[in-house]
Amino acid sequence: MDCIKKKVNEELQRGWIGSDLACNYHPCHFTGQDCTFCYCPFYPCHDTDLGEMLVGRRGNEVWSCSDCLFIHRTEVCQFIISEVGRLGVTEAGDPRFMDIFAEAKKRFWHEGSALMVVGATSDAGKSITVAALCRILHRRGYIVAPFKSQNMSLNAKATRMGTEIAMAQTVQAKAAGLKTPDSHMNPILLKPKGDTVSQVVVCGKPYADYDVESYYGEFVPGPGRSIVRENIAFLKRHYDFVLMEGAGSPAEINIYDVDIANMGAAREADADVILVVNVEWGGAFAYALGTIELIPEEDRRRIKGVVFNNVRGDTERFRTGIPEFERLCGVPVIGVIPHGDFVLPSEDSEALRSVATMGHGRCRIAAVRYPRIANFTDLDPLFLEDVTVVFAERPEDLDGADAIVLPGTKNTVQDLLWMESAGIADKVRSLRGKVPIVGICGGYQMMGRELRDPEGIEGGVSRTLPGLGLFDMTTTFGDYSKRVVNSEGRMLVGDGGDITGYELHMGMSEVREEPLFEITNNFDRDRVTDGAVRENEMLYGTYLHGIFDRKPFRTHFLSRITHGGERYDASDSRDYDDILEENLERLADVFESNLDMDAVMRMLGVGE
């Protein structure tokens, strides 16, 4: 405590500093944060709008500030410094800090407001609309949190705290300049396990498995609604705005009463709603009108604007339909967004489910598309390269491939069985040593000699089956839990460059191969090795998702490719993160110039 007092005293003496760009950890919360008080002079304020009391392992109480952004607001810091000067306070622990705190809170704290973006269909553009709004508001100096109550996704990402949230909210948090997205932003995550059953992950932790009936019958009316309410309330306490994203269509009238992902969540958050419609497939006016009119009156009044998204070609021609639309429906059109090619992680797996190839580059990389493929977004950085990714579902699809990726899967055992019966497993074995092969997570597990599932966790029945036999490795699916870890480290091959990634999987592997990476996870700072490599056979395997995001491993892997007698030239490669950042800026620009931001600000309760 004394040591903290000393730090606070130093801070008081130093005065207001704004963002501390020189700090190694900057920004630890959000871009543009005020770092004057790295150590809070109010500690412990005991104000539950800002922090919370945790009970330590030995029953002792600890005041936790880990979610407090209040002390990192410039206006708060400047106010404290000026008050401290005015009152002549020089020492931490001065009782007058109580008064300064009370006054600062009165002036600068208020509960945030929420705005919801729903879509007439899935892939309507909800995610990118929320991402664009996050960036626009962030640029205007607001602290914004993305939120989606329920996400059906196979694209999850680990957070720094070792929980798991959807890729869409991770990207939106990035758009908002937030450095530590957490599970409050995505409290309910549904991960399809089979055709009808989903694993429900609540606040980042596996909760239970539900089928459709029990999910809507038991989970939603029971814990579901209160989970949504509590998490929105939490975000409102800490952020200026909560930008909520709906799921699917809000007008599924057969399940309307049990929907907590759309209007139900808007009700809990008392949020105004924007409806986004993708114009690309046609019927946009009908989708918009039908969606609005099928929503019951008491919720319909929340819908304050319609955005038509993804208009190709001449937007003027499209606009000629708007006056009649507004007359029919009574809700104003607040945006017509032209089609844009943005490099952002795939919104959800459906977008890739039906395409045969992605990208137009010269090299052919075959990614095996198992029925239960997961974390598609691992492949996204490849689309920036001189690469065409072919989604392989049959052995012939691997013909002519310059490299093979075995992606992640929600169920390694079932998908390995599928690989065997489809003849793809043998095809991959036959290409060993001829083309580079990389397995990620479930795909890595498959590369081993043997997979053991004694309790039938993956397959429903107890069994042991041979893997692809590319690595000397045995994977055992032991208990119903998974490692969820966000890691960084370096390659143990090539130039030893930096890597980042995240692990989330079931099963543990015993590997008798050279490791591929040395990693430190961001949570408990353990230093371990990961993966397996046989450089001479061009075989790579890792548990880390997102491994192509940073340049070093991507270029190392691609440089092993020979296409048409030539080595792949990866000298132009860039970090995916930088490219994302550029695209978020571009996205925000497009929205800002085609969206009535004044209307949006009014919905957020701000008269700009």
Binding site: A251, E252, N254, G283, A286, Y287, L289, G290
Partner: protein, 291 residues
Amino acid sequence: MRILVLGTSSDAGKTVIGAMICRHMARRGLDPVPFKAFNLSLNSYATKDGGEIGMGQTFQAWACGLEPETDMNPVLYKPSGGGRMQMIVGGRPLMDIGNGVEPDREAAVRGIREAYGRLSSAHGCVVCEGSGSPAELNLMSSDLANTGLMRLLGVPAVLVADIERGGAFAAIYGTWRIIPEDVRPLLKGFVINRFRGDASILGDGIRRIEELTGMRCLGVIPYLPLRFPEEDSLSRSEGRLQGEDVRQAFLSNLDELLDAAEAGGFDFRLLEDITDEGQSRRTTTRLTTDE
């Protein structure tokens, strides 16, 4: 007998459902023939009578057991790059349109009326297909294949909605709402396409739409991982169905779909009633505002 298959979006599955209806009618010996008044497509099929028509009607003709002919697709726009399109009427290039040049609407309407007349007198049942969505407020006044055809010939229609992306109820209801009141009574039914899972969960929603619109639900078509050549772009199926096999592969996929629809309780009786109603309607109403 006649029926018009409309879609709530451009790839709702009109072509495949139209083909399925053709196949059913053919199995029942009702002598169906496909017809799409207007088609905008890059891909066309060279017919034996020396014209060209869209791929969709080619497949539907096969489903009927017929050879494709130009009357099945009297007006075709083929993009020729640079915002220009070739307008083909009756299988023959008529003019280049786009970049300020408007199509010859009168020639189009004449072509449609004549082709339809020949088909309907030669066959037992004309299975028409719409184009895009019939509810494009910005295009409504120039529509030929949807509300345009309904107004021109009084053909009763069913609406196909793709449920895979969600929002199907909204799409059906919204389309019904936007379709002009003079032709709205011709909307008789709807089909929910590409559904995954247990269809009983849709029951409440379907009843609600039936109450609100007076349309009847013909059925829910299950999602099947079948490969049908796409109407607008063959690219998705390119390399999957090749050469002489195309026809056979298409027909066996279609039979599988038809069997699944029958097993799923698709109301083919109601479908036939609707096509019949069209027959009597032609003699009792005069919906010829376009003349």
